[in-house]
Symmetry: C2
Subunit: 206 residues, 2 copies
């Protein structure tokens, strides 16, 4: 008994995400979004509320997608867990367009200017950390990683590297260098390789 919508809500969210990702929250005007989505401002406000609410919606959508995408890494043989982590680190390098990660932008731009954004961002990072931890645990079960190691911390290294690589890439760092960094992170050759036979347990600090 009423006129149906001419647009798919999720399509609008996706288009808005594009815009926010490219120009940031403060850098994006409602009119920009209107142009990007094809909806007029009136329709936007009618469907989503104000700019902030729309951004929340977009961010939540993005985080969910990122979480689910990472979660798919868990599927597969345990003895290839490290390879899946490696491909996760390398994946962003393939996107030649230098669009960055919305989550990164959101935390940098308004994580503690807006509580809801901060909450959602933190939740996303914790979910991603959990996924990385599980992958490391897979690798441990497969005998690829010391079973006594702190799986969460190791997963955190991958997550932090992932996030850091994205920043370096955004700044324009040479992709070839980044690939070597990603490789080194997963290889975990990192800084262990002390010339001591067998495993070396770290001697705390100084």
């Amino acid at each position: 008994m009423a006129r149906p919508r001419k647009f798919e809500e999720h399509d609008v969210v996706v288009a808005a995400r594009r815009q926010f990702t490219e120009t940031g929250y403060h850098g994006t005007s409602v009119e920009d979004i209107s142009r990007a989505t094809g909806l007029s401002k009136g329709s936007l406000y009618g469907a989503f509320g104000d700019k902030e609410a729309l951004f929340q919606r977009v961010l939540d959508d993005y985080c969910t997608a990122a979480e689910e995408s990472a979660a798919t890494l868990l599927d597969g043989p345990e003895d290839q867990a490290l390879e899946r982590l490696r491909s996760w680190l390398l994946a962003p390098l393939d996107h030649v367009d230098r669009r960055g990660c919305l989550l990164a932008r959101a935390t940098a731009e308004l994580a503690w200017e807006d509580d809801a954004v901060a909450t959602r961002s933190l939740a996303a990072y914790e979910t991603l950390l959990d996924t990385c931890r599980r992958l490391v645990e897979q690798a441990q079960r497969a005998g690829l990683v010391d079973p006594a190691a702190d799986a969460e911390a190791l997963g955190g290294v991958v997550l932090a590297t992932h996030r850091g690589l994205e920043a370096l890439g955004k700044a324009g760092m040479d992709p070839e260098t980044m690939k070597r960094i990603a490789g080194a992170a997963v290889d975990g050759i990192a800084l262990t390789a002390a010339p001591v036979r067998g495993r070396r347990r770290r001697t705390a600090s100084a």
Copy 2:
């Protein structure tokens, strides 16, 4: 033969940096800067040009400081190079105030919206990468790291982790977890610990 300035230029840059770091570029109005620096808007324009030019100045100042600060890590005995990298990773965690890194904000917010910003940011990251590489080389000479390893890539892992940890911290992640991550990154226990005797040379990919 002229009215002297009532302010020290560098003091203004520092105050402006504070403001930009807290509220970002788009989120900071010229009046905010005026309030933060104590200068009237007219004086700001007279001394620095427009808002963008002032930001460039601030960013350059910040990058230089960050580069020099990192460079001091190079001083010290080579067999403690890893400890210095560790403390570098942990340093940001001590600042309880959740102010983030201006460089991170700049790259996230307008790295490729503004060429000059992108150029300076990339230069800063490359300098930092170089510093990390040298530290790893110190560790190699001290016998703490496999001399055959790719020092630049290993330095890059530290740099990326540093950058990533900053993002996680900004989002509000538990500092204790972050310390464990930083520790794991430097320990480099990371993902190597395959249960193979002696060094294991990686077998390329899949």
